[in-house]
């Protein structure tokens, strides 16, 4: 099977994730979209590793998973905190860090 | 004997002292002062020991050389060494630090509504600054020099920003940003220098000895020179990069101002002499006319602005700018007399500025801290000793013959005249304006009827006189017998002259008698 299909799939996933981040207001959904983008990247890494015949991409994919897991921990904690204080998970509302 | 790392030890003593002073309990401010003073005296003693071992007639101008790899990947070394010029400037720093500490004994109070810094902090900063001053004059590696050069900003920033007067935040920030800007250009030029040296030798280096005589191509030299020179011109300061100085000096404690103008600014002129000239001879030659023009403008500009100032500290800052015009002029005329004269002038200016700022500081302390000239009148009557020292400082500043400032000023002017007759002639006119503004200050503040609130101010006390006497004695001694300085400086100057390939102009009419045997080719 042609590995380039995996790359195309990965690009599609990445695009969906990007659109999700840009268009959705709910923090949880945005977060899921980010995860989608990360995993799209993972897929691309693995596909390229396969195409190039070495393990570098696969190793990086593991790194990404670890980082993503850590990010989920921190990110979800922040979202929960925001939800507790504001009774809302919309990402458009917390804008205290503007100019 | 030379294997003993004298310079490293010399630099470490005040650093260790600074840390110890900073760690003392806050409740013992007196102990901090005494300890700081003792350490500065130890440093002075060490400098004397080093100076005595320094061989003025040795074939190799750099002595007490230390050399260790630091960051081998970038050719950075920890290398120290002094030639005559570095030695006398280190000696100047070592003399001025204990004087500053002694004179500023009661200048700093415990934190209150007006000041935020602690007593021990001030003295710890002075000692830290001393380490950096020694390092900057002793470094023979451009990178190491740069590190010291930039690190010096930190203690001075805090000394102005935490212990200064009303305008301290503004002045400290202006000083820091202006200096950092200069340093940034120098950093870029330094990296460029590394790359250029790598192109020529294959192995990039920051080592001064390797960089001198490297024959970098003239176009590159012109760019790199500007980077270095810009940093030094701000530090010196050369017109028109001077406006940080009056603000910084005006907002500083007298002691801070002494170290700032007396030593720190010398780093600028020292840098021109040590780095700009030997490493970029072609560029120095190319830019010399422009720099000379700026220096001459600076001489007159500073003097005229000083003539119209009402704030004593700002006035002295502008007068220093005028003096720095002379020093820079002497360096860039490329004659032995001019360069030697500039070095002597650096010493002389350090001493006379110290005397001026300290006496002015003693005066201000006695009159609600006012630094406005118009607030003073007739001080000579209640405080004749103070007025006497002030007059002496003023005379030293106007380069009265018999004082060391005259040796420096005359040699600079003579060296200039040798090379550029008209420039020398015009610059000489500066001595009239110098006399005018210096004597104006004395006349307004010290003579005439006694001003209100000044009737019963106290004359100088023993501590204050003790701080000033060494300056006075040195100024007179070196004025009548400058040989100790000239003996060590001249060989270093000759080296610079050889490196930049300049020769002294010969007299137009040969001497018929036998006295020309001392003349060099």
């Amino acid at each position: 099977m042609n590995p380039s299909n995996y790359v195309i799939l990965s690009a599609l996933l990445f695009g969906i994730g990007t659109l999700g981040v840009l268009t959705r207001r709910n923090a949880i959904v945005v977060f899921m979209s980010v995860e989608l983008m990360l995993n799209a990247a993972n897929l691309a890494f693995v596909a390229f590793a396969r195409m190039n015949g070495n393990l570098d991409g696969q190793v990086v994919a593991f790194f990404v998973m670890v980082v993503a897991a850590a990010e989920v921990v921190v990110g979800l904690a922040i979202i929960v905190q925001i939800f507790r204080s504001r009774r809302s998970a919309s990402i458009d509302e917390p804008n205290l860090l503007k100019y | 004997m030379n294997s003993f790392p004298w310079l490293t030890v010399l630099g470490l003593v005040p650093l260790v002292g600074s840390i110890v002073v900073a760690l003392l309990p806050k409740s013992r401010p007196a102990l901090a002062k005494q300890l700081a003073f003792a350490i500065s005296l130890v440093v002075l003693g060490l400098v004397v020991v080093i100076a005595l071992q320094f061989n003025g007639s040795a074939s190799e101008p750099f002595q007490f050389v230390e050399f260790h790899d630091w960051i081998p990947a970038f050719g950075v070394t920890y290398s120290l060494g002094v030639d005559g010029i570095g030695l006398v400037l280190i000696a100047l720093s070592a003399v001025l630090v204990p004087i500053t500490i002694l004179a500023g004994w009661n200048d700093v109070e415990e934190p209150n509504a007006e000041s935020v810094g602690s007593v021990k902090g001030y003295f710890a900063l002075i000692l830290a600054l001393e380490t950096l001053m020694i390092g900057v004059f002793a470094a023979t590696d451009v990178f190491l020099f740069y590190v010291f050069f930039e690190a010096m900003l930190i203690p001075i920033y805090f000394m102005i920003g935490r212990y200064g007067g009303a305008q301290r935040s503004y002045a400290a920030m202006k000083f820091l940003i202006y200096s950092l800007l200069g340093g940034l250009f120098m950093l870029a030029a330094m990296i460029g220098l590394f790359v250029a040296s790598a192109k020529i030798t294959g192995q990039g280096t920051f080592n001064w000895f390797a960089l001198v005589g490297l024959n970098i191509d003239p176009t590159t030299q012109k760019f790199l020179f500007l980077g270095f020179f810009f940093a030094f011109a701000i530090k010196a300061p050369l017109w028109p990069f001077h406006t940080w100085l009056p603000d910084a000096a005006g907002a500083s404690k007298p002691g801070t101002a002494v170290l700032l103008l007396g030593v720190l600014d010398k780093v600028g002129t020292f840098g021109m002499l040590r780095y700009c000239l030997p490493i970029f001879p072609a560029a120095s030659d190319f830019y010399a006319p422009f720099i000379i023009a700026l220096a001459v403008i600076g001489i007159f500009y500073g003097a005229f602005v000083a003539l119209g100032q009402n704030d004593l500290k700002r006035l002295f800052a502008y007068s220093s700018m005028s003096h720095f015009g002379f020093i820079i002029l002497g360096i860039f005329v490329f004659t032995s007399v001019g360069i030697s004269g500039s070095t002597v002038y650096m010493i002389a200016h350090g001493l006379s500025t110290a005397a001026l700022f300290l006496t002015a500081g003693f005066l201000m302390q006695r009159h609600k801290g006012s630094s406005l000239l118009s607030d003073y009148s007739g001080v000579n009557k209640p405080a004749p000793v103070l007025a006497g020292f002030f007059l002496f400082a003023a005379l030293a500043s106007l380069a009265l013959p018999g004082l060391v400032s005259f040796v420096g000023e005359f040699m600079v002017l003579l060296g200039t005249f040798q090379r550029y007759m008209w420039v020398g002639g015009i610059a000489t006119l500066g001595i009239v304006i110098t006399a005018a503004y210096v004597l104006r200050v004395y006349q307004k503040s010290m003579t005439g009827p006694v001003g209100s609130g000044l009737e019963d101010i106290k004359d100088l006390n023993g501590r204050e006189i003790t701080a000033l006497v060494p300056i006075v004695l040195l100024t007179i001694f070196l004025g009548l017998y400058p040989a100790p300085v000239l003996n060590v400086v001249n060989p270093a100057v000759d080296t610079v002259m050889t490196v930049i390939g300049a020769t002294n102009p010969e007299p137009t009419v040969g001497l018929s008698s036998t006295t020309s045997k001392g003349a060099q080719q």
Partner: protein, 631 residues
Amino acid sequence: MQEVMPATGVFSLLWLLIALPLVGSAILLLGGRKLNKWGAYLGVFTVLIDAVIAIAMLIAMMGNSAEQRTFSQNQFSWMFAGNFKVDMAFQIDQLSMVFVLLITIVGTLIHIYSLGYMSHDPDKRKFFGFLNLFIAAMLLLILANNYLLLYVGWEGVGLASYLLISFWQIKPTAAAAGKKAFIINRVGDVGLGLAIMVMFVTFGSVGFQEVFGSAGQASEGTLTAIGLLLLLAACGKSAQFPLQAWLLDAMEGPTPVSALIHAATMVTAGVYLIARSHAIFDIATTAATAVVIVGVITMFMGAVIGSAKDDIKKSLAGSTMSQIGYMVLAAGLGPIGYVFAIFHLLTHGVFKAGLFLGAGSVMHGMNDNVNMRRYGALRTAMYVTYATFIIGTLSIMGIPPFSGFWSKDSIIHAAFESNTLVGVLTIIAAAITGFYMTRMAAMTFYGKARWEDDVHPHESPKVMTIPLIILAIGSTFLGMGLLFWGNIETWLEPVVGIQKEEIAIPEALLMAITLVLVLAGAAYGWIQYARREVPTIAPRGSWLTRAARQDLYGDVINDTLVVQPSFWVSRFLVWFDGSWIDGLVNGSAAFFGGLSGRLRHYQTGFIRSYALSMVGGAVLVVLALVLVRLS
């Protein structure tokens, strides 16, 4: 050419001549109040010892043959770098010798006089410290063997003069006068400094022997430049036109200072400088002519000012300017005149010191009032002062057989030898001298008493009158002594050279004409100020009188041409510095501050817009990569 001998025997004490008063000055100034009691005596003592050493040197010098009277003493290398080298070295020859004698002997007398004059001053110790400093600097000026060391003495006497003029610095006028003297002198110093530089660039040395030895090889243009610069220096120090304005104000200082510094010694340093540099002026004839012109102008300016002033010290100061004008013009005449310039300098040093001290003695008895319109009929009240003052007056007028006659007559004669016009001018100036000195003597000692109410004139104490008597004896006999017994011409000839020319008029006739004119001037003065009533309020006077009372507008000219423009420049630059240079610096800081103030508005806090810009950026990067790959 003179032979230079090593300084052995009594000449090995050359350095001590300078060191003694210098140490004395240091002790007096640094010693503190403990020395108030006997400090003044120490000041007198050091100068007295100097005078004794100087006399011993004179005797030793006379023992040598004329060619072996130059002694040099090298102490150590002073400044050196590259091909530049100046030694701390002293030299004495016949010319220096007569100056050393004048300085130390007149100096001693004035020191002694000051013991009385300053006896009530709380700062007496300081006064003697400054006087000693002056003696040291003046001797250094005279004894230096190179121009740079001379320069040290040159500014040193300027400093002492500054300190002593503004000695009573609680008076704003005194402080201002001192500052003015120093700054105008500095203008002259620029000339000397530049002359030294030209010498070094030309000859490679600044030593007297070397410069004079090779002066012949330099181009005339160079020598003219050196000569004119030296003339500028001399104008500053000797209060010659156009740098004359400081001398009249300098009378703010205590009277002994006016006598010692501003009459007898320091102000004549310019004449010394020109005579010393005769090797240059001999060749640079243009510069020498300029010297004569300056001398003539000042001779008349001083005489006119001296005739109009009512302040006795200022009138004497005008006279000093005028007499130094005589010396300067004589020095400008070349070998015809050098000797007589020095001759007049010596006699003038003695009789003018006597006149000033006499004026001081009058002031001492008149509650320090200097206004001659408030004097009158003092000859009975202070007889010694009167008698010595009259001797001084006769001497300066040039009445035989007093000292001034011999020296002034020699100058007039030399002027005729060189140029009849200059000769005639010197005679006219002599007539004016007759007028203003008679006026001064008449207003002070004759006529009716016009004293203020609480004044009780009295003779000064012995310590003041004895120096007056000694100076009066000098004013009488010094001229004859130097001319006939001392042979001043042959004495100075080896140093400055001498040359005689024939003149058209017989010598006796010339003398007679001069004398008649002087007496005519004196008679006019007598009629105006002794026979007629002198009003206590000055009448308006002619335009010339009014101009002379304003110092011939010297101050006004300096003020409009130099002082005011300087302050304008200063004010402009202060403004320029604050608004433009610092404005540029602070402006660039403000620019970046403003820029960041605008840019931060792009930080909206709207997270999805950040995300969009990130995506946009990423797309741009990818596009760029693709474009690079494709091209």
